[in-house]
Amino acid sequence: MSKDNQILEDLNSKEYEHGWSVDFETDEAPIGLNEDIIRWISTKKEEPSWLLDWRLKAFKIWQGMSEPAWANVNYPKMDLQALRYYSAPKQSNKPKNINEVDPELIAIYERLGISLNEQKRLQGIAIDVVLDSVSVATTFKETLGKLGIIFCSFSEAVKEHPDLVQKYLGSVVPMTDNYYAALNAAVFSDGSFCYIPKGVRCPMELSTYFRINAANTGQFERTLIVADDSSYVSYLEGCTAPQRDENQLHAAVVEIYAGAHAEVKYSTVQNWYPGDKEGKGGIYNFVTKRGICAGDHSKISWTQVETGSAVTWKYPSCILKGDHSIGEFYSVAVTNNYQQADTGTKMIHIGKNTKSRIVSKGISAGKSQNSYRGQVQVMKRAHNARNFSQCDSLLMGNQCGAHTFPYIDIANPSAKVEHEATTSKIGEDQIFYCNQRGIATEDAVALIVNGYAKEVLNQLPMEFAVEAQKLLALTLEGSVG
């Protein structure tokens, strides 16, 4: 109940509240994209030669690919040669722990409401913070280290745990997968790495917080999560960006590997700058997220609350390879003004007795377009596969669109697959009923929308759920009445 209250109290701020940027000294790559830039990034990061070779190979593949056009989104194409592929805050010496991080950086995150001070954190959440291209801080490393959990920036993992990185990098999302995944493989600058050893249950939420600060810079981070047999981890991702008139590109890759009996829960609250009311500016969020349930009885669960970005193109997916493995996808995607989202999931059933569940709640307002695109594929040998999908759309106003594109491809007769979808609008009588009990219209909308999205919000860890509810209310402000 207190969650709701908090939303109502916080409803005062109307615009994107993370729209500020900070000037500080940065290390930047020259603008443009070519082999030299990739070498420049690799050298800057003191990478081993295998990784440089891997990047260059990806770059070659990417050069032969073209930007996908099948998604239900329209946007002016971005000139990828006009972007900067590396921008990092200058830090005199690499900080050994959080106390050595530049106080100016810490201040940026304090302003975003994220405390990097371990003592100040009420909840047990370890955070890896990524600003523009690089990871600037990781908290609780020592506590986690005692359990054998590795949680650090990707760059650090390349140096300290090269074997693990080399083994899993690109194993779930190969560089050939798609245009943006190939681009990411070529130019990714940093990201988070996480390894949970056999039989370990990670005692706290692990979290990455992404922030784009620099202008004309693409953010290409990479997250790799490896959950060894019988381990458990819950992972959170948050993101914001300054308000800028030009579009910015975010093309991340997330790979998750789950061993036998392992469970990974990955939650995202995506709040990239969506552009202004006229549709100017905003982030292009072209992200590839995929997990593989490699071992028997493993489970991967994606939860996403998507409120930001001008254009979203994102399909967190599960490859259910292990027998009895489970994939889940819970999503709330809100679009307002001129936002466009084409998002959904893929559940690929390969192992026997695999199960998947999809709950997608789309909310469209203003002049936005919101599409669910999902695939449930049951391969020939995937005996007794089960899927249930529920895809609902809520429309607010008559200038927006809601679209549903479910692909159901079944090649095994023992599969049971069900897909249901509905479209509805917020009823004026619902709002009047709330009004009659003394609830203002904006709050009534927040209440109704949160009720509609409840099944998904319930999947989020408490702290994130509060944040997500606030975001939903904020994003939809002014769209009814």
Binding site: F432, I439, G451
Partner: protein
């Protein structure tokens, strides 16, 4: 407390209310009766501020304030409560959650501190007893899958929680069996005080056996055509509405 003067209202250009005059004082119970389509529910809706209705003439003073100039939520916050004829379902929002939001917004308007969870819960327990409502019901989605009786009980429960000055019960008795009717009426009676007033809108006299009115008004063709005491309700029950219709229609043609 409430003073309605020459109230005219229409929907999509069709006049429904054609000059209502009504005075309600604190401590009173008024029953509004009338045949189907006479404008009873419209009157309730206009008082609560439903947007589909356009007020074309007249004024309504509530505790000295121009009621018609207030937004629906401010009318509620001033103390007007409408028990809906067809309570609305809101999926995913529990009654508890809904009421806590409502109560705290009402309190804020009245300059009171919001209730914390503990105080809210104890208040809720106290009011639940009044309408014999189960806590389990209150943690379910608002009105979703409730039976007719449960919905109406929930309306009265909300009324108890929000402590209105003026309660308008719109056909609260429709669809209720005798047991449910008794429970709902008991709730309403217990909530009555010398500082509050109640308007009961109903088609049947049955409810008035339980909620005894001080005044009974008959609405027909958008006007109050007859007023009286509870005996008028009994007469209507016995004779139906036809004699009133005839009376009005004949004078109208003269």
């Amino acid at each position: 407390m409430l003073s309605i003067k020459n109230l005219h209202a229409s929907i999509e250009g069709t006049p429904i209310l054609r000059g209502i005059n009504l005075e309600v004082k604190a401590g009173e119970v008024h029953a509004i009766m009338g045949p189907n389509g006479s404008g009873k529910s419209t009157l309730a809706s206009v008082l609560a501020g439903r947007e589909e209705y356009e007020v074309t003439e007249g004024e309504v003073l509530f505790q000295g304030k121009e009621l018609l100039e207030l937004s629906p939520e401010d009318r509620a916050r001033e103390g007007v409560f409408l028990a809906f004829q067809y309570p609305i379902e809101i999926p995913g929002v529990s009654t508890t959650n809904f009421l806590r939001t409502a109560l705290n917004q009402v309190r804020e308007y009245r300059g009171l501190e919001p209730l914390d969870a503990v105080k809210f819960l104890s208040l809720m327990k106290e009011k639940m007893a009044l309408v014999e409502i189960d806590q389990k019901l209150l943690s379910r989605s608002l009105n979703e899958g409730f039976s007719g009786g449960e919905k109406k009980r929930n309306e009265i429960f909300q009324m108890a929680m929000l402590e209105p000055v003026l309660s308008i019960l719109d056909e609260t008795d429709s669809g209720l069996d005798i047991d449910a009717l008794r429970i709902v009426s008991n709730g309403v009676n217990k909530l009555k005080s010398e500082n509050t007033a109640t308007i009961v809108v109903t088609h049947y006299q049955r409810l008035l056996d339980y909620i005894v009115p001080d005044f009974v008004h008959v609405l027909y063709k958008g006007r109050i055509v007859k007023s009286g005491t509870k005996e008028l309700a009994l007469e209507l029950e016995e004779k139906g509405y036809d004699w009133i219709k005839e009376e009005v229609d004949s004078t109208a043609t003269v």
